[in-house]
Subunit: 419 residues, 2 copies
């Protein structure tokens, strides 16, 4: 039977409808690869009495409770006090923690308010969990068969502290390092989860292979887990899904980073002319340090006048075909490439919101233009959803057009191509 | 004190990282308008023993537990059995419920499998909660001071059943309807949570006013709740925090939308020249439908050559002061405004990653330029964090510079100004 742990998330925002508890989701997903299960999850407000009752309840079935929240500097942050009282271990001041906190504030040129000193106290005998993202350190307190691991509620702080300190601690505590699990990951863009599911089912894999899907819009991540090597099965998966849809088999990869690396490897430079996405493609392409090696910039025209006057899209194209057209997307990509003297030019023009939709071009229609030294092409796509999701989808589709071009793969099959 | 209820969400998908518990969020949001609070939330897997322990725990502080999940037809759906055993009330067959189920299947042209008959059983003395969206009815079981309300886990079924039957039931049970809760929201940008906390504490508010903070990077959201009107307290809060840091008091507002509305109200147009943020500001300013009323576009130069050749930043500025400087940010903002013929021009140039940092300009340094018909100004800021957060912070800071200019407020106090 897998080791059993539980989570206790603390904060009124979890109970008054403001935020979802994504911390338990993060922890549970990370534990999927090991023989540790989250058997219960409780949320309570910042109240010492409520935290104590939750401990009594959770420690009935769990040796370890991971707590998130209530470590901040304000008076409603009571997790430290609650753990101290529950385990009968006084809160002790730790000069080393205070020095660390002050150094963080100094590095950020922020005034260190006395109220923050609270964060340098942890229950006697606890070990600190370093926080390399935010201020408040966490701590691990153990007494007989009960261990509580306290982390901040801020998700990005909890993620890094869980990965760096808590997960290794749990694997050691439950003696789980030796067991070997084979795993394969497939990061897929351009196919629906149901289509991928049907293709995988056609393989009729042994039930000793655990298959899981995760839709992370606009991608689907597929993972396989088994106690035996997966090389043969992975080859079958690639073949049945279609290798060109799998942009990476690295668990930590993402599409912007893959395109970033391809552009550098190919010694290409790129410039962008994005309309309906407003700046998203530029933002994605500059997410990673070193983007200046390939990214020259963007001339992103939102109005037709700017498309014409600054980017040189012909008035004829705009009046005859409109800004949302093959012709306009092609002129945008070709012109931005010429203006920036880049090896590649990419453009997007589409309809993400109700203003601008017409019967021939409904909301969700967008065109991507791609220009290189071998010529200029455009693709018409359609994706009906909310404004936000249409824009995200179009931004990733543009990256996918670049990725496929650099990998010499066929263009995305759902696009209507025009040369 | 408000009436206290709690939720129990049942299903392994809530504990293995597959789905978030959105049902508690829905219920808590709906209850915000009444004097009823969700004081605890528990998730467990489908196990009679685990459900009983959760009841024991939750009924200590709550008269009512709302259960979601485990009402389906399969063998791992155990909620009915668990309630029946806990309350010592046998499951009784209800012909009326069976007729209803069969009619639903007939209307959808589905075969009614015998396994579904299970859904026509409810604990003796319970009242059924009609399900007008899906199949399984819910039920309410009461015994002395304990009431359990069982609903399906499927969110759209739970929503309609909660609205139509459960909420009216709760208001009647707790004799509410007339009682009014007062609330105030403050959406704050530009002050740390600890600073806001210290300022609020200085007000020494009565403990009848519930105060909560939520850090939603790069903002902090503050909310107050009370049974008495909050007008006077809200005025004190504005004064102690500084009204210019509060960009909205609307619960659903966000900074991009506030700037969007201000630009339209002021009949201003804007163009962007963003370097280290890569396109983020353009993306934020076009998040809402109707952005074409004010947003003309961007000329975002990532390389120095493009800053000079396309945006007209002088070679002298670039060689003497560098791209990350007051001078460059001012020329970028003024030039993009001139090129796009916009009323306003905004620019960002900074160092978000290790490439480009120097001793005088460490990572986290960024300049914002702002140009209007009255002149051009720039601000120097410093925010040390990860690449992603520096960029997000700089993007929101640029929006804040625009917001403050349009509202005729002083510029952000942490910026070193140069005219």
């Amino acid at each position: 039977m897998p080791a059993q742990i539980s989570t206790l998330t603390i904060g009124s925002e979890l109970l008054d409808g403001r935020v979802a508890d994504t911390n338990t989701i993060y922890i549970a997903q990370k534990l999927q690869d090991y023989s540790i299960e989250v058997n219960k999850r409780v949320s309570v407000v910042d109240s010492i009495n409520d935290i104590h009752r939750a401990f009594d309840y959770l420690f009935k079935d769990s040796e370890v409770v991971i707590v998130s929240g209530g470590l901040g500097p304000t008076s409603d942050d009571l997790t430290r006090e609650a753990v101290s009282l529950y385990f009968q271990k006084p809160l002790l001041f730790d000069q080393h923690l205070l020095d660390g906190l002050k150094a963080k504030y100094a590095a950020r040129k922020r005034v260190f308010d006395a109220v923050n000193e609270k964060q340098a106290y942890i229950p006697q005998g606890s070990s600190a969990v370093p926080n390399n993202v935010g201020a408040a350190p966490g701590f691990i307190t153990t007494s007989e068969k009960k261990t509580v691991i306290c982390l901040p509620g801020v998700p990005r702080e909890l993620h890094s502290m869980f990965d760096e300190t808590v997960l290794p601690y749990l694997l050691k505590k439950f003696d789980l390092g030796a067991e070997k699990q084979y795993r394969s990951f497939f990061k897929i863009f351009g196919l629906a989860e149901s289509v991928i599911g049907a293709r995988i089912e056609s393989l009729m894999l042994s039930d000793k292979i655990s298959v899981s899907y995760r839709a992370k819009f606009p991608e689907v991540h597929l993972s396989l887990k088994s106690l035996a090597p997966l090389d043969e099965i992975s080859a079958q998966v690639r073949s049945v899904i279609g290798a060109e849809f799998i942009y990476s088999e690295d668990r930590d990869a993402n599409l912007p980073r893959v395109v970033h690396d391809l552009l550098i490897a190919d010694k290409k430079t790129i410039a962008i002319a994005e309309s309906c996405t407003g700046g998203l493609i530029g933002k994605l392409l500059t997410e990673n340090d070193g983007a200046s090696q390939f990214y020259l910039g963007a001339l992103s025209p939102y109005s037709n006048e700017i498309k014409n006057k600054l980017l040189g899209v012909s008035a004829d194209t705009l009046s005859k075909h409109g800004a949302v057209s093959h012709q306009c997307a092609q002129e945008m990509a070709a012109n931005v490439r010429r203006m920036f003297h880049s090896s590649l030019g990419i453009s997007v023009s589409g309809i993400a919101g109700s203003s601008g939709a017409s019967s021939g071009k409904p909301v969700g229609t967008f065109f991507i233009g791609f220009s290189s030294e071998t010529g200029t092409r455009s693709y018409k796509f359609f994706f009906l959803s909310s404004r936000d999701l249409i824009r995200t989808y179009a931004g990733f589709k543009a990256l996918e057009v670049v990725r496929r071009a650099l990998k010499k793969l066929p263009p995305p099959p759902d696009g209507e191509v025009r040369d």
